[in-house]
């Protein structure tokens, strides 16, 4: 499975929406429940899944799905 699909699975789990489709340009504005709290859950789940750790700066900065994936790719 490519990384976009894997990340999408995690998004679907966090937002409890099996039909959710994301792209690298998807931002918090596109998903209603994407707030600071769900953002935190996303980060924790991505960290668990890829066995990586985001830095505070990366979490603060990542504005869309593409940037998140870019950070993940650097770390795995």
């Amino acid at each position: 499975m490519d990384i976009m699909n894997e990340v999408q699975e995690i998004f679907r789990k966090v937002f409890d929406d099996d039909g959710l489709i994301i792209s690298s340009r998807t931002t918090a504005d596109d998903i209603e429940d994407w707030d600071s709290l769900t953002h935190m859950q996303l980060i924790v789940m991505l960290e668990k899944h890829y066995k990586i750790k985001f830095t505070t700066a990366e979490i603060k900065k990542a504005a869309n799905v593409g940037e998140l994936i870019e950070i993940i790719l650097q770390k795995i």
Binding site: K13, V14, D33, S36, L37, Q41, V44
Partner: protein, 601 residues
């Protein structure tokens, strides 16, 4: 979604599965509208949004549908010290207060501060939190407060030296926690989150990045554990407590099978690693007994073989007199457990089962689902941990009655012998030489009052539950009179075994609550209690006494109590019966209360 369906889903989730818990939190809104069971306020200095969400989920597991007020971020003092705050408008009956060590770190004493200065710094911080609790109590006198202690931080600028000085940051936190315990009031319950964090491992518990980003007091992964620690307290407050552990023998209390090896050869030698593990487990069980947990044995064995180690093996920590009921036979364990419950007069849902054999555990789970079955690990070295971490004996308080109870179960054998030699039941009661005592609630008995009132299920006329805070409030109100009944006989001192709440309004007195311990059934205590209640009503010169029986799942044994005592039944519905006793009848009824005991003043 129906509440029950939601609850079933929650019951399947492990507290470590924070993802599923957070998902269930989002589904909360989908529960069909129903009346709330309780109102809970959560206030704290760190971020509490997700805590509130998961707490609501976990409370469902205990059958509680809670309306929860979520305090503002860092808003403890805004909510508490402003008497017009939304927090007070919400009017919670339970409040959870979650402070964080980062709130008080700056107030630690200076390096090299002397003892007096350290005490002052500790006193001032603990005093602030006491003031918070006192202020809430003043404004909401019926409110029960659950206060988390401070999780002592990992870092200390003094390094290992911190362990040597009272002024160090880590010792400061520790002293504040101790001070909070020292001056704890009955309306405050401390919840030991520091211990929880230590069990998990503090370097994992704290996540500084999450604190800087979201002001999370701890790593999100542990939110289930955190909320469960509080949710459990509500379960105990609602009267659901377990009080008896049913133990297997072979490979549970000792290694090997006594029927094959004989009492001398079972594995129980303190010089053997495995033997030591069993001894360690027995010592833990003995400590449970000493705090008031009833020990019972349920083993597939010949009775003689099963008892021999208790009588003859000198390495045994547990003796026969520590075991309140001993079942060793070849019947199935589910039936045996029912017998034990009946003999000890306790509910199946107050029992815990500990057996190394997975087949027996499965059988008990299936046929007596009310019993809590411990997942026993293969290695006896970890028995204590498995039992301890199951948190099955979470009580709200410890009382002297808990400790004495075990003795009174044991004395039942002596009572049975006495009964054998009596010609009739009244003679037996006379020979028991019972002495009874009717008292207003006092500082000494208030904890027991709360416990009995909230734990009793069978002899309980209305099954109302009260927090310690509510009891305190009634105790100091002119409208209420709270009484305890204590009993002793020639064999044991039972202590407080019945509690009554009388509510005086206008011209009448209402029996708002009446509970009694099932250990003293059929001893005419209820007649004595009725006599004294009428007397209390006479003193207040009321025209009538009103009483009520509300049917619950467990209190059918008292469904006709008021009829039997001679109260007049005025209305009756499926779940409720109302009674009346008018002034003219007080005296006649008192004469009928032929209790067979001496009154002690």
């Amino acid at each position: 979604m129906k509440f029950e369906e939601y609850r079933n889903q929650v019951e399947k989730i492990n507290v470590s599965d924070y993802v599923e818990l957070l998902n269930m939190g989002r589904k909360w809104k989908k529960i069909e509208v129903r009346p709330y069971d309780i109102k809970v306020g959560v206030i704290g200095s760190a971020s509490i949004q997700l805590i509130v969400s998961v707490l609501k989920v976990l409370l469902c597991k205990y059958g509680i549908y809670a309306d929860v007020y979520e305090g503002e971020y860092n808003g403890i003092s805004m909510d508490v010290f402003d008497s017009e705050s939304p927090f007070y408008r919400f009017g919670p009956s339970y409040v959870i207060v979650i402070p964080d060590y980062r709130d008080i770190r700056e107030r630690a004493p200076d390096i090299l501060a002397d003892g007096t200065k350290v005490e002052k710094a500790v006193g001032s911080v603990a005093g602030y939190y006491r003031k918070i609790c006192d202020t809430i109590h003043k404004k909401l006198p019926n409110c029960q407060i659950l206060l988390s202690d401070f999780v002592e931080p990992v870092e200390d600028p003094l390094g290992s030296l911190g362990g040597n000085y009272l002024f160090s940051q880590s010792q400061f936190c520790r002293q504040v926690n101790l001070e909070l315990i020292k001056y704890r009031k009955p309306f405050v319950k401390m919840v030991d989150i520091d211990k929880l964090a230590a069990c998990i491992g503090k370097t994992k518990w704290f996540d500084e990045s999450a604190y800087f980003l979201n002001k999370s007091g701890f790593a999100l992964e542990y939110i289930g554990y955190f909320c469960e620690a509080f949710a459990r307290q509500f379960d105990a407050c609602m009267g659901k407590v377990r009080k008896c552990i049913v133990l297997d023998l072979d490979n549970t209390l000792w290694g090997g099978v006594v029927g094959d090896l004989g009492y001398e050869k079972i594995i129980l030698d303190p010089n053997d690693a495995e033997g030591e593990a069993y001894i360690y487990f027995q010592k833990y069980l003995l400590s449970l007994k000493n705090r008031g947990v009833i020990l019972a044995v349920c083993s597939k064995n010949d009775l003689k073989n099963a008892k021999e180690p208790f009588e003859k093996n000198e390495n045994m920590i547990l003796k026969l007199e520590d075991i309140s009921f001993f079942a060793a036979n070849w019947d199935d364990k589910a039936s045996n457990i029912r017998v034990i419950a009946k003999e000890l007069n306790i509910g199946l849902d107050s029992m815990v089962f500990f057996d190394d054999n997975p087949t027996e555990r499965e059988l008990v789970r299936e046929f007596v689902p009310e019993v809590q079955v411990i997942d026993v690990p293969k290695d006896p070295a970890y028995y204590v941990r498995a039992l301890d971490q199951s948190f099955c004996f979470e009580w709200n308080q410890i009382t002297i009655e808990d400790i004495n109870r075990i003795q009174s179960y044991r004395d039942n054998a002596a009572r049975a012998e006495l009964y054998e030699v009596c010609d009739n039941y009244d003679e037996f009661l006379t020979k028991l030489e019972m002495q009874v005592c009717w008292n207003r609630i006092s500082d000494v008995t208030v904890a027991r009052f709360s416990q009995l009132t909230n734990k009793s299920n069978q002899f309980n006329l209305r099954t109302q539950r009260y927090s310690d805070a509510e009891i305190e409030a009634m105790r100091h109100s002119d409208q209420y009179e709270l009484y305890t009944v204590s009993l002793k006989d020639k064999f044991s001192n039972y202590g407080v075994i019945a509690c009554v709440i009388l509510h005086f309004q206008d011209h009448y007195c209402e029996i708002e609550n009446w509970v009694m311990s099932c250990r003293v059934l059929k001893k005419t205590v209820e007649k004595y209690t009725a006599y004294k209640m009428i007397e209390a009503a006479e003193i207040r010169n009321v025209d009538e006494i009103r009483a009520e029986y509300i049917l619950s799942k467990k209190n059918s044994m008292v469904s006709n109590l008021y009829d039997e005592l001679g109260f007049q039944n005025i209305t009756e519905t499926e779940n409720k019966k109302e009674y009346l006793l008018t002034k003219e009848k007080f005296c006649a009824l008192q004469k009928r209360m032929n209790y067979i005991m001496k009154e002690e003043r």
